[in-house]
C-alpha cells in the first residue's frame, strides 16, 4: 500500500489549490513545498488581478493565505526537495534530496516555471554581482545607480517600474520595436520619467567578468548590427520562464519547450499523474488560471483514485458531476 493517496509537488497557486481541494475531499494530501516555496508570486509586489482583492494584495501575503487555507483542511506540508521520481512502477515513488522516499497512488505536478537567463554565459557568472532575475530581491543594492531591464512583457515592465524606486535610471532593452506588455503596464512604464527604452536590441555581453561586478553592457542593435557600450551597475533579466520539468523528463510526455503535455483536463500521458499551473501552461500563466487548474487536477486525481472515468470531451460533464465524490468536493 502506498504511503499516500495523493502527493502534490509545488506550492504556488496551482499546488496549494490542488491541496485545498484534495484535503477537503479527505484524501490527506502530502504537499512538497520545494525550494522556491510559494512560487513566483513570492517574488512579486502588488497583485492587482486576483479576483476578490479589489485593492490588490501583496504576492507573498496571498501565498501565505493560500498556504494557511490548505493547512486548515488537513494538508501535510513538507519542506523537502524532490530529487528523483519513479512513475513507471505503481505506486509512484518520490526520492527526496535528504534521502527519504515517499510512495503515492496519484501525483499532481505543480512545479511551475523559473526565470530564464540570457544565453550569453556571462550573465549567470555575474549572478549576485549585478545580474539578477528578481527585482524585489536585489533592487535595494542599486540605490542611485543606473541599471538595465531586459524584456518587453508585463513582468519586465513591473520590474522596471519597481526598480525606479532605487535606481537613478532604468534602461529597458527589448528585442522588438514595441512592447508585448499589456496596455496598462505600457502606459505606466512610458509615463515614468526614470525609464528609457532601447528598441530592437539585445545584450551581446556584460562586463566586467574579471572584476566580478557589472560595469556595463554591450548592446547589439538587431536591425543594423551596430554595437554600443552602455555603462551601468546592474542588469535585471525578465525574458520569460522555463518549466521545471527536468525531474520528469523521459517519464511523461513534454512538449518541445519542456512543458508537461496535458489533455482532457489535467491528465498527462501517464495515468494517475496530473499537472497544473505554469508547468503545463505557457499561454495564460496567471495566478488565477494556475489556481483554477490546480482545482481541476484535484478533481481529476480524486476521480482517478475512485476508479471513475475522468471526464473528457466525449463525456457529458453534467452527468459526470452527479458522482457523489465530486459533489463532496464542490460543496461550498
Amino acid at each position: 500500500m502506498a504511503d499516500r493517496k495523493v502527493t502534490i509537488i509545488g506550492s504556488g497557486p496551482a499546488g496549494l489549490t490542488a491541496a485545498l481541494y484534495t484535503a477537503r475531499a479527505n484524501l490527506k494530501p502530502l504537499l512538497v513545498e520545494g525550494l522556491e516555496a510559494g512560487g513566483q508570486l513570492m517574488l512579486t509586489t502588488m497583485v492587482e488581478n486576483y479576483p476578490g482583492f479589489r485593492k490588490g494584495i501583496d504576492g507573498p501575503e496571498l501565498m501565505a493565505e493560500m498556504r494557511e487555507q490548505a493547512l486548515h483542511f488537513g494538508t501535510d506540508l513538507v519542506q523537502g526537495n524532490v530529487e528523483r521520481v519513479n512513475l513507471r512502477d505503481r505506486p509512484f515513488s518520490l526520492a527526496f534530496s535528504d534521502g527519504k522516499t515517499v510512495t503515492t497512488d496519484a501525483l499532481i505536478i505543480a512545479t511551475g516555471a523559473s526565470a530564464r537567463w540570457l544565453d550569453i554565459g556571462c550573465d549567470r557568472k555575474l549572478a549576485g554581482h549585478g545580474v539578477s532575475t528578481c527585482a524585489t530581491c536585489d533592487g535595494y543594492f542599486f540605490r542611485g545607480k543606473p541599471i538595465a531591464v531586459v524584456g518587453g512583457g508585463d513582468s519586465a515592465m513591473e520590474e522596471a517600474i519597481y526598480l525606479t524606486r532605487f535606481a537613478s535610471k532604468v534602461t529597458v532593452i527589448h528585442r522588438r520595436e514595441s512592447l508585448r506588455a499589456s496596455k496598462i503596464m505600457q502606459d505606466k512604464a512610458f509615463a515614468n520619467p526614470k525609464i528609457e527604452f532601447i528598441w530592437d536590441s539585445e545584450i551581446a555581453d556584460i562586463t566586467d567578468l574579471e572584476r566580478g561586478e557589472v560595469t556595463g553592457i554591450l548592446v547589439r542593435n538587431l536591425k543594423t548590427g551596430s554595437l554600443t557600450d552602455v555603462a551601468l551597475d546592474g542588469v535585471f533579466i525578465a525574458i520569460g520562464h522555463t518549466p521545471n520539468t527536468a525531474l520528469f523528463r523521459g517519464q511523461i510526455e513534454l512538449d518541445e519547450a519542456g512543458y508537461v503535455c496535458t489533455h482532457h483536463g489535467t491528465k498527462t500521458n501517464c495515468p494517475g499523474v496530473f499537472a497544473a499551473g505554469d508547468v503545463q501552461d505557457h499561454i495564460y500563466r496567471q495566478a488565477v488560471t494556475a489556481a483554477g487548474s490546480g482545482c481541476m487536477a484535484a478533481i481529476d486525481a480524486e476521480r482517478y483514485l475512485d476508479g471513475l472515468p475522468i471526464p473528457d470531451e466525449t463525456t457529458d460533464l453534467a452527468a459526470s458531476l452527479e458522482a457523489p465524490a465530486v459533489n463532496e468536493m464542490l460543496k461550498p
Binding site: L35, E36, G38, D98, H129, G130, C134, C137, R211, V214
Partner: protein, 107 residues
Amino acid sequence: MASEKVKTFTDSNFDSEIKNGVTLVDFWAEWCGPCRRLAPMVDAIAAEYDGRATVAKMNVDENPSVPGRFMIRGIPTLLIFKNGELADQIVGLVPKEEIARKLDQHL
C-alpha cells in the same frame, strides 16, 4: 529564530573572525524572501558542521562595508572562506545538500 551555533558577524569583527579555518557566511536582510527560506538550512548546516566549520550570518543593511568589498549585489549569497581567503560562493537559494557539498570541498 537563528540557531545558537550560528554566529553574527559585523563589519568590525568580520576580518578577525574569518582568519582561521573554514567559515561559511550567509549574507541576508529582513526584507529578502529567499533569505528567510535559506535561514533554516544554514541553521542545520551550523549544527551538522559544529566544530569543523564556523557558520555565521551577516545582515547587509546593518553592515554595508563587507558586502561592498565582496561586490555582493544580490542575496542570499553564501561565501566560504578558508584561513581568511575567499574560497567559494553560492548565489541564491539552493538545497541544503548543495551547501554541504561545497563546504566539504574545503574541509
